[in-house]
Structure formats: structure tokens, C-alpha cells
């Protein structure tokens, strides 16, 4: 609690002591902006950046998160995370392909997307994506035990998602 008193600017305290009323802050100033952190084990791709909207691939469907979204814990499947933010007057869209992880939305508009791997979409080789899909599809067909089948299934889903994200038809 004592941290709060320390952070109140001295000017405000002096003015309050002198009995001068502070102007009321407008609603716009009080609305919290959405702060995004997109983190992988080896690096944080986006760190505490102010954004306007984030679309995430939840396991039961894609959904968007704005500031003041209800606190959520969402599991994410392999897919595309789209980040809408403002650069000057323009709105910029950044797309990242994620391997799967979690999105934690807190009450104070902090969105933490924690994934095992995230790559900017324009850094992915479309040929490798197409080839990977073909390879895992064949593996799925020839899989003998449950473990091999599960691994191939995961490979197929991820590459299917990759191809869809890159607008490649397989």
C-alpha cells in the first residue's frame, strides 16, 4: 500500500494540501489501453506493446481481444495471431504463426500470449509448408501405432494451418 502514496506526484499532494481542487480526468484518459506481450522461451517477440486488437486462434475457434476484455485463460492451437496496432496515423497488422500455447488476459488489460514458438508470417517458406503437409499426410497413412499416428496427426494439423495462413492450397 505504501507504494501508492510514494507514487502520487508531489505536486498533487501540495495542491491538495492547499485546498485547490484537481480537474476531473476524462473517461477517455481513464480507459486502459491493451498491452500485449507475446513471449517464447527463447525471446519475447512483442514486449508490453500498446495495441488496439489481437485475434488469437483458440482451440474452439478464433476470437478477438480488445482492451477491457473480461479476464480469460484461453488455450491456443497452432495458427495465426494477428496484432492490430497504431503506427502514427496508420493502422498496422502484424501476423505471427504460433505453435500453440496460452493467452492470459488480466483485469488490468494486460494480454500475455505465451507460446512455445512464434514466427512472423512473412518469414515462413511456403514450399516447406506445402512439403511438410504432404510428408505428414503420408506418415499418417502409414502409421502403425498410436504414438506414431498422434505425431503424424499433429504434423498434419500444424502444416494445414500453416498453409491456410499463407493462402496455399494443398
Amino acid at each position: 500500500m505504501f507504494n501508492l502514496t510514494r507514487s502520487i506526484p508531489r505536486a498533487t499532494r501540495c495542491l491538495a494540501a492547499g485546498g485547490i481542487a484537481q480537474p476531473a480526468r476524462s473517461f477517455a484518459a481513464e480507459a486502459k489501453a491493451l498491452k500485449l506481450t507475446l513471449a517464447c522461451p527463447h525471446t519475447a517477440i512483442v514486449s508490453n506493446k500498446e495495441v488496439s486488437l489481437v485475434n488469437v486462434p483458440g482451440v474452439s475457434g478464433e476470437f478477438g481481444i480488445l482492451a477491457e476484455h473480461v479476464p480469460t485463460i484461453a488455450e491456443l492451437k497452432p495458427g495465426v495471431v494477428t496484432v492490430f496496432s497504431k503506427k502514427g496515423a496508420d493502422e498496422v497488422q502484424d501476423k505471427y504463426f504460433i505453435s500453440g500455447g496460452f493467452a492470459f488476459m488480466s483485469a488490468d488489460s494486460n494480454l500475455n500470449i505465451n507460446v512455445v514458438e512464434a514466427v512472423a508470417l512473412d518469414l515462413i517458406d511456403p514450399e516447406a509448408a506445402r512439403e511438410g503437409y504432404k510428408r505428414f499426410s503420408t506418415e499418417l497413412g502409414t502409421a502403425t501405432d498410436d504414438l506414431a499416428r498422434a505425431k503424424a496427426q499433429i504434423g498434419v494439423e500444424v502444416h494445414q494451418s500453416l498453409c491456410a495462413a499463407l493462402n496455399i492450397t494443398v
Partner: protein
């Protein structure tokens, strides 16, 4: 490192100087050092000088290697901090009840000569275990790093399993996830991760992170404030729990790596400086001895020549 120097060939230097000490060469009596008979003693000192020089070279190299590796380990740690911290953030405010069954994952280094790192974690383990056992919690130990085995010696019956060769090269998140899988398979009521937190290059302190187990997560009203997708809380909390355990161990691991290298760099730096100081004193002693031997020989020759005349 100081212990090594005291035990080895230099230890002899400390004990054989009857009544005199290396630290005050000026009070060494000439009767002791003078004479050809004491050439053997001079040879010994020469040998010691050589070995101190070599040790100094080794510790200097170790320091340089540690500082080079430290730079990359520190970068790696700083880059993965957002990941480890944000994995635990949703649990902020959740009080962890250790309950009956607590698995304590402690992270050590593989090699020694890294200062007080492993000793500090070992001591914290002992105190934490006794605290928790008095409170009725059963603690099983999991170790990472070759030095865990030495530290676990006295509490060997509480050790669930231990991994070696974890700090020789960087473990990936996948490798750490496998370790996390083993921890989760024990079905603990709570999981704790102990590691050395990197505060600065010269300051690292052992820290514990306590995480609730799956059952505790399920039963806690804490998660009522969150919305879960398709309201399938049981399923998602299981995944969140496993993910958080893996992320926390990974975070602790990267911190410990940076701490280990920083600590080794400081320890080797001190050892090199000590070796340098020791070398100076040994060389002074050696020169005094050499000069005294020459003087004695000369006086013998001169007095012999005078007697003949």
C-alpha cells in the same frame, strides 16, 4: 579455490616454514636459508612457484571463458524472462497451500569452482525441507545438474530422481518439458522450483517459486475470476498447470545458468589475484634464500682462503 591451494603443493610451503610465515619473509632467519644444504629447500620453492604460476594461468583462462559465456547466458536469460514471468502471472494472488505432497525441483551446476552457488541452494534445501516437514508436508527432491548428487547426499532417501549434464550446454524448452513431465507424473499437491536468481554479475541469491498442483487449481475459487473457453475448466486447467510447471523450471534454469557463470567468473578472478599475490611472496622468499646461499658460500671460500695463508 583457496582450499585447493592450501591442500596442494603450496600447503607444504605453509606448514614447513617452522615458526616463520610466508606473509612476513623479512623475519626468516638466514641460518635457516643459508648454505648449500638448503639448496633442496630452494628447489622445492622453485617447484611451488612454477605450480602457482600454472594454477594462475588456468584460473585466468577459466575466468575469461566464464565471462564470455556469461554474456550470452545473460542475454538468453533476459530474453526468456518475459516467458517465464508471464506463465506465473495468472497465479498472482493465489496462495499456494503446500499440502501433503510437495515436489521440490532444485537446480545446480554441473561443475564446481563456481563460488558459493551450490552450497547456498543446498543449505536452503535443508532449511526448507525441515520447515515443510514440521508443517506436515512430505517433500520429494528432484535435482538438475551433476552437483545435485553431492548436495543430496544426506537426504538421499527423499530424492525422486536427478538429471546430470544440464549446464554443460544450454537445454532447450523441450528438454526442460521432459523433466517437467516427470515431475507432473508424480501427481504432486504443489511444485516448487529452487534456483539462484541472477541479481547482478556479483550477486546471486537462491529463491523458491511455489506453484499449486492440479487438484489445488481445480478446487481454488481463485479461477472464478477468469473465463475459460467453452467453459471446460478441468481440461484447460490441466494444460495450464503443465505449461506453467515447465515454464517455471525453464525460467529457473536460465537464471541459474547465468548465475553459475557470473559466480564462476568472480571466483576465478579472485583465485587469479590470490595466485598472483602468493607468487610475489614466494618469489621474494626464493630470492632471499638464493642470495643467502651465495653469501654463505662466499664467506666459506674467503675464510678458507684466509686460513690457508
Amino acid at each position: 579455490m583457496a582450499g585447493l591451494l592450501r591442500a596442494g603443493p603450496l600447503g607444504a610451503a605453509f606448514s614447513k616454514t617452522a615458526g616463520t610465515s610466508l606473509l612476513a619473509p623479512s623475519v626468516v632467519s638466514h641460518a635457516e636459508l643459508g648454505g648449500v644444504r638448503n639448496g633442496a629447500k630452494l628447489k622445492e620453492v622453485k617447484g611451488r612457484i612454477r605450480s602457482v604460476k600454472n594454477i594462475g594461468k588456468i584460473t585466468k583462462t577459466m575466468k575469461m571463458i566464464a565471462s564470455a559465456r556469461l554474456r550470452e547466458a545473460q542475454t538468453r536469460m533476459e530474453k526468456s524472462r518475459p516467458f517465464a514471468e508471464s506463465a506465473v502471472k495468472p497465479f498472482e494472488g493465489l496462495k499456494v497451500d503446500l499440502k501433503k505432497n510437495n515436489v521440490l525441483v532444485s537446480i545446480f551446476s554441473d561443475r564446481g569452482l563456481c563460488g558459493g552457488l551450490n552450497g547456498n541452494v543446498g543449505r536452503l534445501i535443508t532449511s526448507t525441507m525441515s520447515q515443510r516437514q514440521t508443517a506436515g508436508t512430505d517433500v520429494s527432491l528432484v535435482g538438475m545438474g551433476d552437483k545435485a548428487i553431492t548436495a543430496f547426499g544426506p537426504t538421499a532417501d527423499k530424492v525422486a530422481f536427478s538429471y546430470g549434464e544440464t549446464s554443460k550446454r544450454n537445454l532447450s524448452f523441450f528438454a526442460v518439458s521432459e523433466i517437467a513431465d516427470q515431475v507432473i507424473a508424480k501427481n504432486p499437491d504443489s511444485v516448487s522450483v529452487m534456483f539462484n536468481k541472477f541479481h547482478s554479475v556479483i550477486s546471486m541469491k537462491p529463491e523458491i517459486i511455489d506453484l499449486p498442483g492440479y487438484q489445488a487449481l481445480l478446487e481454488s475459487p481463485f479461477f472464478d475470476q477468469f473465463e475459460f473457453e467453452d467453459d471446460n475448466r478441468e481440461f484447460h486447467l490441466q494444460d495450464v498447470y503443465e505449461y506453467t510447471v515447465a515454464s517455471s523450471i525453464f525460467g529457473g534454469y536460465t537464471e541459474n545458468m547465468a548465475s553459475e557463470l557470473g559466480s564462476r567468473m568472480t571466483a576465478m578472478d579472485n583465485a587469479t589475484r590470490n595466485a598472483g599475490d602468493m607468487l610475489k611472496k614466494l618469489e621474494i622468499w626464493y630470492n632471499r634464500g638464493r642470495q643467502a646461499a651465495i653469501t654463505t658460500e662466499l664467506t666459506e671460500i674467503i675464510s678458507g682462503a684466509a686460513a690457508v695463508e
